[in-house]
Every structure is written in structure tokens, then in C-alpha cells.
């Protein structure tokens, strides 16, 4: 892997070489077909300039980072986002939240209304989730009817509110799956904060959020369960006394 990266870097630093690519030796048909099928507008033609190759590569990168059905980040992109966040939390101590989301009784949607209806539900839920979070948050399709969100710099005090907003958003957005047929969809949400100042690992963080998701399911679905972050054991009174001297000022 590192050698491949090194080779690419080497190529990138030698633009005069990339201009001498012989288009006849490249098999681009399949790549172009994939991109067209996914709805990308491509400068297709006999022109194989470095620029058109670059846009082809950009398109492929974009394609391989997204979920085909919902357009959300796919599992691979999500895991990259997680690693990045774990690094930041360990170094800077910023709080970060991960939410695991599962559509309630999704199997029965498929069984009763068909897979096309199931797809419509997945797309609608994906859209609602994206609408309920900040642009900096990563919403991903984790697999099947499971979604995951990573929220950088999310203080514990806001975690429950965000999870609740997602649950409410989906609950309040019926999905039209056919003429005259609106489905009420609900989700269960499980959340866990990254342990601050400590280098965690992505699988463990996912596992902790997953445990909360199981809890939300066990508690009856259509609800959000968050792992309790370490709460301060310092009361307002103690804080007031601690900062009673004029020398130190409590910002809160």
C-alpha cells in the first residue's frame, strides 16, 4: 500500500510524464460507463487530456466513497471519518459523538410493500438524517437498514438533543411508497461519546454505540439511548465557592 502511494506521489510530482500517457493503452470504457450510470456528467470524447482524466478519477473517487442507493457516505468513508475523529479527540480532547441508527421493523416494509418501497424508505430516511445534522457531521449508510453518524465537537450536553431531533425528524416524515400510500417510519438511535484524551479504536467506539442501539430496541423502539458521558461531580455551589475569589473567573 505505501509503495502504491509513493508511486502515485511520484507521478503527481512529474506532470510532464502524465501528459505523455497514450490514451489507446487505457481501458476507460467501464469507468465511464459506471460514472454515466451514476448520473455524472463527463466530458467524454476523444479528448484524453490530463484534465479529463483527472475528472474521471475524481468521479471514481466520489463514486467509491458514496452509497449507491442513498448517496450518503458509505462504510469505507465512514470508517475514515471515524479514524480522523479518534485522532482529534485523543489529541485535543474535543468531545465527539457517534450515533448508530436502525430503521424499526424494516423487514416488514420489504415483506409487505416490496423492495422498491423499502428502497424509497431508505432514501427518505437518509434525506431526513442529513437535514437534521450540521454540514460538518458525517452521515453514512452503515449497511442494510442501518445508518451511522459521527458528530465532531459535540458536547455531551447536546448529544441527547441531536439524537432526539433525528428520531423526531424521521417520525414526523411519512414516506410515500405508492399512490395514496404513506408509511410511518421510525428509527431507534444508540449513541456513545469518544473517550476524551484517550486513543480509542473505531471498532470499540462502534461497539459502544451499538450497545445503546440494542438498548433502544429493547426499550420498545422509536427512541434514542445515549451512553452516559462522565458527568462532572462538581456542583454549582462548589463551583461558585471555587471561583469566589476575584482572581479566577469562571466563564460559565
Amino acid at each position: 500500500m505505501p509503495s502504491a502511494v509513493a508511486t502515485l506521489r511520484h507521478l503527481a510530482t512529474r506532470p510532464e510524464r502524465s501528459a505523455s500517457i497514450d490514451p489507446a493503452q487505457l481501458r476507460l470504457g467501464e469507468a465511464i460507463q459506471l460514472l454515466l450510470q451514476a448520473g455524472y456528467a463527463l466530458p467524454v470524447g476523444a479528448d484524453f487530456s490530463a484534465r479529463s482524466l483527472q475528472s474521471l478519477i475524481d468521479g471514481l473517487c466520489e463514486l467509491s466513497s458514496r452509497d449507491a442507493l442513498t448517496g450518503l457516505a458509505n462504510r469505507r468513508t465512514f470508517e475514515l471519518a471515524l479514524e480522523r475523529e479518534i485522532d482529534r479527540v485523543a489529541r485535543a480532547g474535543e468531545p465527539a459523538l457517534m450515533l448508530m441508527i436502525d430503521i424499526d421493523h424494516f423487514k416488514s416494509v420489504n415483506d409487505t410493500h416490496g423492495h422498491a418501497a423499502g428502497d424509497l424508505v431508505l432514501k427518505a430516511v437518509a434525506r431526513t438524517l442529513v437535514d437534521c445534522v450540521r454540514p460538518m457531521d458525517t452521515v453514512a449508510r452503515f449497511g442494510g437498514e442501518e445508518f451511522a453518524v459521527v458528530l465532531p465537537n459535540c458536547p455531551p450536553a447536546f448529544g441527547a438533543a441531536v439524537a432526539e431531533r433525528l428520531r423526531e425528524g424521521v417520525h414526523g416524515t411519512p414516506v410515500e411508497v405508492g399512490t395514496q400510500l404513506m408509511l410511518q417510519v421510525t428509527i431507534s438511535v444508540g449513541g456513545a461519546f469518544a473517550p476524551q484524551w484517550v486513543r480509542s479504536s473505531a471498532p470499540l467506539w462502534v461497539e459502544r454505540a451499538d450497545q445503546q442501539l440494542y438498548q433502544a430496541k429493547a426499550d420498545g423502539r422509536n427512541r434514542a439511548c445515549l451512553e452516559h458521558p462522565l458527568v462532572s461531580n462538581v456542583s454549582a455551589e462548589e463551583k461558585a465557592l471555587l471561583f469566589s475569589s476575584s482572581q479566577f473567573e469562571d466563564p460559565e
Binding site: R199, L230, E238, L241, F248
Partner: protein, 258 residues
């Protein structure tokens, strides 16, 4: 406690990260070594490897390797500039965020193993009051809390002191102030903390908690300069005010006896 000589173990901890635990642990070790003590600094901030970065060391054998069963403890104890020894955590994508029974056992075994070989062992713990940090501190004879005048640091230091006093039944907690701007600010921090602990923190015996103040290190550009060079302050700028403050703290620390 098997041998006739046994190290006094001091956990250097804080409520908040970034207050200078690692800086203080490493430089205190150098100052104590200069006083003739055989000192080991154990990087107990598992997974972050801050101490290695601070000292510019790249050891092949680390605590991580020992815990993984791949290395012997003897090989992981390496000399550091400054005349003391270090046992570095090593970074790796290993999960030490959670206190498993295995991790408990391993930490305990390591500390019991090094005790007879040194006069003093400094544990550079992680920040906060997670169960790993609390357990690590519980293995130490003394807990040294580092606080800065910054409000969140002060609140978190108080939170840590409270937990250590109530859950670990400590009657005495050592305190050092770092990054203070005015002379005597550290003493004010101690007084504030003492006032609040006196009112709200009850020790097991009912006696008030004693905060033993070791001194303050005032903000000093030489601290950052030494860090940028990845060198000990005591080696790079021994004449600086901060270095002399650390030496004074080391003197008071070596006088502490339970």
C-alpha cells in the same frame, strides 16, 4: 514491598489534559535524579505516548510490547536524558480506554516489578477521572495533582481531588500549580481548593483533606522552547525560572513522607 528497599510511587495526574503533567513528571524526575535518587518515569497515559515525544525518544521496546507479551519488562526500561529511566507506553491501535481485569493485573504487576529497583517511580497518568486513570493513581503512594489557573483546569483539578479523597480515601493530596502568571498565584489556587474541599469533601476519617502544596511553575517561554527542541527543560535551560521552580518542587516532594 518484598525487598528492603522499595520505591515510593507518585502518580502525577490532573483533571484536565494539557496542563503540563508530562512536562512536570519528566523534569521532576531529572531534578530528583540530580538529588541522587534512582528514578523511573512510567508513561501511564496509555496509547498517547506523550512522554516519548517530550523526550525525543524512539524506543523499540515499550510497555505496549510488554503487555502484548512480546517483550520483557527489563528491555522496556530505558535510560532517558536527565539521568533517570523511563518505561514508555508506546502508541498503537491498542485499546486501553477501558479498565479490563487484564489491564488491572498488568499495571499492578509492572509497578510491583519496578518498585524494588528504584527509589522513586513517577506515574505520568492520563487526564481526567476515567477508571483507567483512577486505577493507576490508586497504585501510587502519593497523588500529585497538577493545576493551572485556567478555570476549567481548576474545576477539573477540584473534581479529581474530590474523587481521589472520597473514592481512594486519601487524606493527603499533593498539589503543584503550573503556568501561573503572577507570583503567588499557585498559592491562591491552593487556598481556593482548600476552602472548597474543606467544606464539601469528607475523608473517611472525617478529618479535612490536607492539600500539600509543593509550589508553582510560572509561565516561562523557555518551557516551550525546550519542548520544541524535544529536550528536558532542566537540561536545555537549567538557569530558567521555570527550571529552578521545578527543582524547588522536587525538593519538597522528596521531603514528603506519609
Amino acid at each position: 514491598m518484598s525487598a528492603a528497599r522499595s520505591a515510593r510511587v507518585v502518580a502525577v495526574t490532573s483533571g484536565k489534559g494539557g496542563v503540563g503533567k508530562t512536562f512536570l513528571a519528566a523534569n521532576l524526575a531529572a531534578a530528583l535524579a540530580a538529588r541522587g535518587e534512582r528514578v523511573l518515569v512510567l508513561d501511564a497515559d496509555l496509547g498517547l505516548a506523550n512522554l516519548a515525544v517530550a523526550l525525543g525518544l524512539h524506543p523499540e521496546t515499550t510497555l505496549h510490547g510488554v503487555f502484548a507479551g512480546k517483550r520483557r519488562l527489563e528491555d522496556a526500561i530505558v535510560p532517558a536524558p536527565g539521568g533517570f529511566s523511563v518505561l514508555l507506553a508506546g502508541s498503537g491501535l491498542v485499546e486501553y480506554a477501558r479498565l479490563t481485569p487484564k489491564l488491572r493485573e498488568q499495571l499492578l504487576a509492572v509497578i510491583e516489578d519496578v518498585r524494588p529497583r528504584f527509589d522513586r517511580v513517577l506515574l505520568d497518568t492520563g487526564a481526567g477521572v476515567s477508571d483507567v486513570v483512577l486505577y493507576t493513581v490508586s497504585l501510587a503512594d502519593d497523588a500529585l495533582v497538577v493545576a493551572t489557573p485556567e478555570p476549567t483546569s481548576l474545576t477539573d483539578a477540584y473534581a479529581a481531588i474530590k474523587v481521589l479523597a472520597t473514592e481512594q480515601r486519601r487524606r493527603t493530596i499533593l498539589l503543584a500549580a503550573n503556568q501561573t502568571s503572577l507570583r503567588g498565584e499557585g498559592n491562591s489556587i491552593r487556598n481556593q481548593l482548600q476552602t472548597v474541599t474543606g467544606r464539601y469533601v469528607k475523608t473517611a476519617s472525617g478529618a479535612p483533606l490536607a492539600l500539600e502544596y509543593l509550589g508553582e511553575v510560572r509561565s516561562d517561554p523557555s518551557v516551550r522552547q525546550a519542548a520544541q527542541k524535544r529536550r528536558l527543560l532542566l537540561e536545555a535551560y537549567p538557569g530558567s525560572g521555570a527550571a529552578q521552580a521545578v527543582v524547588a518542587i522536587a525538593g519538597r516532594l522528596s521531603a514528603v513522607r506519609a
